[in-house]
Structure formats: structure tokens, C-alpha cells
Symmetry: D2
Subunit: 124 residues, 4 copies
């Protein structure tokens, strides 16, 4: 009975999908494992409708402290794989994270590899 309730909780939290390309290429974008996990946490929050998780909320799920989360986020913003968008509805200004720069970096990475391979094939 209890078992079932626990399992229901599991189902309610659900799953998130992550592109295999991210797993394959994050390290070649200069992203390490801690940074990649932080990006996955942000992805997960955003997908579940919470577009701007705080460093505190992120730290609660990680082995990093809240200030460490803050600094890691700053690093990801500087590396250009994370973006903060602002929107305003009336007087309320809302911020949200976007992972679009990450997906763009990955597709550019793939694109360059394909071109290099094409050139190498032509030169043979």
C-alpha cells in the first residue's frame, strides 16, 4: 500500500528528456560534470514550469552550496551556454533561464565536425 504511494510519487515527478548529443559533447564545449549537472537541474525546473530557480533551490538538490551554485551559474552565463531572458507583464518583470544557447552551441559543434569530415574526405 505504502509501496504504491511511493511509486505514485515517482510517477508524478515524472521524467525529463535530455538529448544524447549533450552527453556526448558537453566536455568538448568546456563544460565539466558539475556544470552539466547544474544545467540539467535548470532544464528540469524549466520543463516542470519553474523558469527561474534560485541558487538556494538548486543547492538543495546538489552537493554544492548556494553561493557555489551562484558562481557556477555566472560561469555558464559567461561561457554563453545559458541565458537569462526578461519579460514583463504590466508592472511585473519576470526572469527565466533559457538553454537555447546550449542547444545552439551543440548544433554548431556538430556542424563544424561534419564540415571538417567533408574536407578531410575531399582531400583524400
Amino acid at each position: 500500500m505504502n509501496q504504491l504511494n511511493t511509486w505514485q510519487q515517482w510517477m508524478e515527478y515524472g521524467n525529463i528528456s535530455i538529448p544524447v548529443i549533450l552527453l556526448k559533447h558537453y566536455s568538448s564545449l568546456g563544460i565539466n560534470e558539475e556544470e552539466c549537472m547544474l544545467l540539467l537541474h535548470i532544464h528540469s525546473f524549466v520543463e516542470k514550469g519553474q523558469a527561474f530557480p534560485t541558487p538556494d533551490e538548486l543547492a538543495e538538490r546538489m552537493t554544492l552550496s548556494s553561493p557555489e551554485c551562484f558562481f557556477t551559474i555566472q560561469g555558464l552565463l559567461k561561457k554563453g551556454v545559458l541565458e537569462i531572458s526578461e519579460s514583463s507583464a504590466g508592472d511585473v518583470r519576470e526572469e527565466s533561464y533559457s538553454l537555447m544557447p546550449l542547444w545552439n552551441s551543440l548544433i554548431n559543434k556538430l556542424e563544424k565536425e561534419n564540415q571538417r569530415e567533408k574536407i578531410e574526405t575531399t582531400m583524400k
Copy 2:
């Protein structure tokens, strides 16, 4: 045109699903970000039909070296969140990773939390 080819590659690699519960609770299981990423890599290999990726194959996708991957795997086996299963077909012995101990640890974690909450509710 090139763009399309790159995008096709993206689609062919596909996505993997990960339970949100893993993201929420890995740190409370004593797993850090590097270890969690390694588990996600193994999950991704297994899901795509490669049940026993080598430390070399894992290291290629990570910022860790091959020996570091090996030691991290040893640690995860000791922590009881990763398992190696053996099967044999004729003379061929095959090994494969199983993440079942990880899913079990997570569901037990949830179960305990639910029981604690129930007790706390009763005692009020």
C-alpha cells in the same frame, strides 16, 4: 542543407529519459555531481543497447580520465547504486551494468521520507 544533416544527426542520437526523482535525491544518497553524470552516461549507453561501456568510452565523453572513470565506477559499485550482471550464452560470458540498485535506493529513500512524515503527522 548542411544544417539539415546536422539536425538529422541530432534526431538520430535521440533523447534519453531520466527520472526527476534522481535529480531531486541523488545528493541525499551520497552521490556527487561527477558520480551522477557517470551514472547518466552509463544509463545512456545501456538504453542505446551498449550494456557494458568501458572506462575509455566513458572517459571520451567526460572531463575525467579513463583511470578516474574506473575508480569512480568502483566507488559506485561499493556504494551499492550500480551493479554488474553476468550472463552467458554458450562459451561467451557477457557483462552488463544495471542501474536497478540506484532506482531501488531512490524508491527506498522516498518510502522512508513518507513514513517519517506519517509518523510526524500522527504525533501532532
Copy 3:
């Protein structure tokens, strides 16, 4: 350039995860393809934060008309694989779909199969 914008849209819509068990066993729960697609549409809306899509919104994505969506939903509620939950915040009453009965039906289905197999093994 345009290509990129289209691709960004694709990424923004994202993916939803569906349990393979659902694909494997919906028909043995007396659910047909139209009904299963309707459940997937509801799952998708709920996952993306819209917990109570209207028949109109569902019909827009399907080959069914709005009244046909309505009747199919009624059928799924009667079959006990879909549920409407009500919650109220102040004066506002909110309804939302829950697929928990579907997940429960599937796990019960699996459970029964396992028990039957066990009995059959014992009797040999």
C-alpha cells in the same frame, strides 16, 4: 537562418517521456489507438503545465472533432484510466486531469501477469 529558428522552436516545444509499458499493454486494458493518443495528448498538456485541456484544444491536435474528444474522454473516465481532480484556492475551483489511474492499471496488469507466471512455474 530560418532553419535555425525552426529548430529552436522544435527544441522549445521539447519532448515528453512515455513509459514503454503503456505502449506494450494499453490494448490489453481495452484502450484503442484513438483513446491512447488522446491520453498521450492529455499527458503532454499536463506535463507542460496545462492540467485541464478543453475538448477544443485536444481536437485541434487530433483528427477527432471537439464533441468526439468529449465523448472519448467520457469513455476513458468510465473505463477508470483517467480521473478529474478538483482543488480549490479561495473562491477559485480548479480541475485537472490525472493519469494516475492509467499507471495504476498498468502496474496491476503487470502484477497479475507475474503472479500467473509464478503459479504456472510452480505447477510444472
Copy 4:
């Protein structure tokens, strides 16, 4: 205890990811619910490493008979949203389904919509 085994089975079958864009636009590609479910079944088989499921294997998971599956597949091949690829290793010729034409049709659909919107915006 039994419960746990059933849950383990659930986890072992795992999840598949499907693009929300597919759910949003299949009907505008002239695909109905039965056809879409068939495509999802093929996607699921392919993702789990079985690249060429037979009509029998598909019928086992559907309310359609094996011949109905066969004819629906023929229809999808004609509509150009499904493709059969052939590869040969030595004397062995292997066939596999590819959903790439489906993903391409969807991205083209999006592309056209974006262009139309752009033209409409310019004309205002």
C-alpha cells in the same frame, strides 16, 4: 516484495521520448491516430534496438490485426513519413525502419508556417 519486482520491470522497460511537435502537428500531415500510434510503436522498437519489427510484433501491441498493421505501414511508406533502409554486412542483408522522413516533414511544416507568418506580418 512482488510489488517491487513489478516496479523493477516497469523501470527495465524504461521510457521513450517523443517530440511534442509530433503530437501538435501529425494531423496536419494527414496522419490519423492509428497511424500515429503505429509510428510510435515503430519508434519504440527502434529505440530499444529492434530496427525492423514485423507486422505480427506490432499487432501484438495494438488493436489492429497483423494484416491491418501491414497495410497501415504501406500507407505510411506511401505518405513519405516512414522509410525502409537496407544495409548489408557480408551476405546478410538487414532492413530497418527510419522515422527521419517524419521528422523532416514536421520541420518543413514548421518552416512553412514560420514563413507564412513572416509574410503576413510584412503585409500588415
